[in-house]
């Protein structure tokens, strides 16, 4: 019998969602509510961060109506949307992959009838769906308090909806890649913490990228992170309009495709390491 490296399985001819994937999503939704304390902690953190950011920015504005052509009210909406969005799309996939490798359950996970990465994506999606209902509560509160308004135009609403989906895609892929690093690193805690800390800045969640020096902006424009916060929210507040919306979506789509290709290659390499070298 000839033995070669494992080849990629051919794609299924009919695209039907595997019941195991749905089960992963459902289990993950239920689990979100099993950790209510952590859940509330996250929400509190989001609120506190929003409050502090607002204070800092108001002192920067110092009574002026606009800085660099950005009205104060618009900035507040920007920051509010950024925080709520961050709460919604924070990825669980990175913890999931890391834990399964640390505990060694990955060995049994990869011999399930449904692929390991599909299991992970199912859990990730379930986390998102589990957190989403909280926004039903948080969004009205934010609107009453006056820090959130709806997108100014229908164009902005539709553009933002599309952009948010792509932002989630980029976020999941970036964190999936960080998670996959655990196949090679003893611990990814350092890496995770580093990225977690700088991500908010690189993505424009703390400081909208308009306010940054040109050189830094040019660099950040070449990275995928702006697609996670800055691009979608610029559309939301009506700062990016018309054809520029399509341009922003195209940039995001590019990153989703590019990162997907990288993720598939890295996962193949990781699986090869697991099944050939024994992890």
């Amino acid at each position: 019998m000839s033995l070669s490296l494992p080849r990629a399985r051919p794609l299924p001819t009919t695209w039907r969602v595997h019941p195991g994937f749905v089960a992963c999503v459902m289990a993950s939704i239920r689990r979100t509510y099993a950790y209510r304390a952590r859940f509330l902690l996250w929400l509190t953190r989001t609120m506190a961060q929003l409050y502090l950011l607002r204070m800092i920015w108001m002192s920067v504005y110092d009574g002026r109506d606009a800085v660099d052509g950005i009205p104060a009210g618009m900035l507040i909406v920007y920051l509010t949307v950024a925080m709520l969005q961050e709460f919604l799309i924070q990825p669980v996939i990175v913890f999931e992959i890391d834990q399964r490798i640390m505990r060694g359950t990955v060995a049994t996970d990869i011999v399930r009838p449904i692929g390991f990465m599909w299991q992970m994506l199912g859990l990730e999606l379930g986390g998102l769906l589990g957190r989403a209902p909280v926004l039903l509560l948080a969004v009205p509160v934010a609107m009453v308090v006056g820090s959130l308004t709806l997108p100014p135009t229908q164009e902005a609403t539709i553009g933002y909806a599309a952009s948010l989906v792509l932002a989630y895609g980029i976020s999941v892929l970036v964190w999936m890649l960080v998670g996959l690093c655990s196949f090679w690193m003893t611990s990814i805690h350092g890496l995770r913490f580093l990225l977690f800390t700088v991500e908010g800045f690189l993505a424009g969640a703390l400081v909208p990228l308009w306010f940054l020096p040109d050189t830094l902006r040019t660099v950040l424009a070449l990275l995928p992170f702006q697609g996670m916060v800055f691009l979608p929210i610029s559309i939301y507040i009506g700062q990016t309009t018309g054809g520029d919306i399509l341009g922003a979506l195209a940039v995001q789509l590019f990153w989703v495709v590019a990162l997907s290709v990288v993720a598939v290659l890295v996962w193949r390499r990781a699986r090869w390491k697991l099944v050939v070298q024994g992890g």
Binding site: L3, A23, R30, R31, R103, V111, G278
Partner: protein, 336 residues
């Protein structure tokens, strides 16, 4: 045709060579040299449907590596293996449908989900319909006595409870083949017994074929008619447990208990034994003799001893597997 087949199965692990001295960690990272170790070195065996086979060997002998290759977790370096006509690593998910795996050291359950939900998730993954799932789950819950902790998150279960959950997860979808890698490790006597009874029942009712690795030879004595012993990645013995005893330890053990006033006589008996009989252990009231039945029939020894001391109780035993296996391992250590 055998259900599980391994032919000249080889698994080599290649690891970067560990540098020594200054900046060792850094140099290891960039070194191109690697060290190759052969965990499994040309293992062949065939297992028929309905067998329970004990796969034994000291730590690091290659037991887990073999099981991982049969489960499709590892790709063999050389040789071939098949389970139910499927090459595990080539058709991982097809193979997954027909095998159940339990690694005693590592749980396959979802750490933060209640056990019941883990089972449900597994049922869905294996495309069980609701009716079949409920039927199987209820049966397993009853058989393994899991009602009290079915709703408890797995991280809060005791080891014995977790192992029961793991076993249920592995057989939920009725796989014809079950791989058990040290399923009783760390369990107390009662939990071990429950585990063995369950595997026995499964084998009897469903004709599940079981490949079992363990360091607890009571598991083997209880469950396995056939034993495969490996060390250093090679098969040392493959055959019936009874044959192993006949070959490596053909002797019988005779336990003799004497009456209260005859303790001194027991010493005299031990001092003058017929050829082919050696004392193994002795205290005031009780002695154990090892008899080689090729040299002297056991019945004659009993008659001889009974004539000399007032025997209260006696029993003839086969030598325990434990001692035989230990001798085989030790013999290998010396030869190396």
């Amino acid at each position: 045709m055998p259900l599980i087949r391994a032919e000249h199965l080889v698994k080599e692990y290649r690891r970067p060579k560990q540098a020594a001295g200054r900046f060792a960690a850094l140099r290891t990272l960039f070194t191109r040299e690697s060290v190759v170790t052969r965990a499994v070195d040309g293992v062949s065996f065939a297992i028929e449907e309905g067998e329970i086979v004990g796969y034994l060997g000291p730590n690091g002998a290659g037991k887990s590596t073999t099981i991982k290759m049969l489960a499709g977790i590892l790709v063999p370096t050389d040789g071939a293996c098949e389970v139910g006509g499927i090459v595990p690593w080539q058709h991982r998910s097809a193979n997954a449908m027909q095998i159940g795996v339990v690694f005693g050291q590592r749980s396959q359950l979802w750490w933060d989900l209640p056990l019941g939900e883990s089972l449900q998730l597994i049922g869905k993954m294996y495309r069980m319909d609701a009716e079949r799932f409920r039927c199987q789950r209820d049966m397993l819950v009853e058989l393994l006595d899991m009602t009290s902790f079915l709703q408890t998150p797995v991280r809060q279960l005791s080891l014995g409870q977790r192992m029961r959950g793991d076993l249920a997860a592995a057989v939920l979808y009725e796989p014809p083949v079950l791989f058990l890698d040290e399923p009783t490790v760390g369990l107390d006597v009662i939990a071990k017994e429950r585990m063995r009874a369950f595997v026995e029942e499964l084998n009897r009712e469903r004709r599940t074929t079981v490949l079992l690795t363990t360091h607890d030879l009571d598991d083997v004595e209880r469950l396995c008619k056939r034993i495969i012993i490996i060390d250093d990645g090679r098969v040392l013995f493959d055959g019936q447990a009874a044959d192993l005893k006949r070959r490596y330890a053909p002797h019988r053990l005779l336990d003799v208990v004497v009456g209260g006033d005859a303790t001194g006589d027991l010493r005299d008996v031990a001092a003058a034994l017929p050829f082919g009989v050696t004392p193994v252990a002795r205290d005031e009231m009780k002695a154990t003799f090892q008899i080689d039945p090729e040299v002297i029939p056991v019945a004659r020894v009993i008659a001889d001893i009974s004539a000399r001391v007032p025997v209260v109780d006696l029993g003839v035993r086969e030598p325990p597997l434990e001692g035989i296996i230990r001798e085989i391992y030790e013999a290998r250590e010396v030869a190396r």
